[in-house]
Symmetry: C2
DNA sequence: AAAATTATTTAAGCTTACTTAAATTTTTAA
DNA sequence: TTAAAAATTTAAGTAAGCTTAAATAATTTT
């Protein structure tokens, strides 16, 4: 499968999984930086290959085959991120950028080698789950967005769901890192901000960030 | 630059460097598995980009710019081979196969990270020199093809110049490995075969192999 | 040195993955 | 509920990187 197709099914998969907007061609086009027309064309083509269901003006839905494809690409992406993060001194943004390219030129054979080398990890450095070789995600995700946490409780960071360099720079600067502990000291519901304590520093995050930082309550 | 262009300049570079046949479109086409017409088209296009010199019916010659491009791709290829060989249990053929894909999706940034991690190696697992970040090969190659060695002398293997699985399988089976020591016990000049002693085994190699196994005399 | 062979080039055409512009449908707002 | 806005689709066109077939030039053989 071509890089264009892999990116297309990946975008649908991620949109379905994480985003609130619908899975119509326009939204996928926006994420891929292509025209709506191109997205419609691609959708029609992939429908003939039984990769997704396409009906005029309706949302795009991956078939089982399409979902497998998407998960296979996601697996390679997250394995690369894990490997690059472990081996080299690279930021979350950098590992993402490189993995975005490498994922399409990685055989299943090599992906398995990487996975094995890393001890078949279940999560990447962003806290995102890594599908296994069969395209299954076996972990269950109990984490919640920081926006939905409760004042006074303690949490550990489980996912940093972003591709954005500025966000990751901010995270690195403030110790916001997969596995680290934070205390939610105040929720400003009206202003949609959250105050947290991390590494003895108090910082206030707005919703742009509290919606993409996921945490688990500590027991 | 596209994968097609990178492979094209790489093929010219390798042809000039290693092979005896001329660098006309037909030979490049053969190596890339494309038609002669496609090779001619590509050559004309690259000439307009100052990547190579093209004159009807003449050999293709890389410009300085084109040579730099080729060396940059070769560098990435050989760095990937070195990394995969060190980290995973993969054969010479397997690391080649995977590197052939990864090389085109590797930023200079990542290539430098890999090089640094490996201690800026000067040779890859085949014994081929790795160009530095400036596209220079700083080592000088004093090795000779096994076909041109002298009876009774002892050599160490310095390069296994092939992409072929069967050849590498043969090498692995017989201890023909970068750095290993062999004794040339007999040259059958008439029949173009060479008898060597390796790991206490005597084997006779024909010219297909003695032309691509390079060695250095031991002092 | 002419004929035969081989290689290169030109020409026309194909597929993939896009584009822009116009037409159509759906959704939103008045 | 109708008009306006927004999104989707269709249509036509482009560039890259190929193909095959035919024309042309170079090379080899006799």
């Amino acid at each position: 499968m071509s890089t264009a197709i892999e990116n297309f099914v990946k975008a649908i998969y991620k949109n379905e999984k994480n985003d609130s907007d619908d899975t119509k061609p326009g939204n996928i086009a926006k994420k891929l930086g292509i025209s709506n027309a191109a997205a419609t064309d691609m959708a029609k083509k992939l429908a003939t290959k039984d990769i997704l269901h396409y009906e005029k003006y309706q949302e795009l839905k991956l078939t089982e085959k399409g979902t497998k494809m998407a998960l296979n690409v996601v697996r390679k992406h997250r394995l690369w991120e894990s490997l690059l993060f472990r081996m080299f001194d690279m930021s979350l943004h950098e590992i993402h950028r490189e993995s975005e390219l490498l994922e399409h030129q990685t055989s299943d054979f090599l992906a398995n080698k990487i996975s094995e080398y890393l001890g078949n990890p279940k999560f990447d450095p962003h806290g995102d789950p890594i599908p296994n070789a069969q395209g299954e995600i076996t972990t269950k995700d109990t984490s919640v967005a920081l926006a939905n946490t409760q004042e006074g409780k303690t949490y550990t960071i489980s996912r940093l769901m972003s591709d954005d360099k500025e966000f990751f720079d901010f995270c690195a600067l403030n110790g916001l890192k997969y596995g680290n502990t934070i205390v939610v000291t105040k929720q400003f519901s009206k202003n949609k901000m959250t105050q947290i304590l991390i590494n003895n520093n108090t910082i206030i995050l707005n919703q742009d960030f509290t919606n993409i930082i996921y945490v688990n309550e500590t027991n």
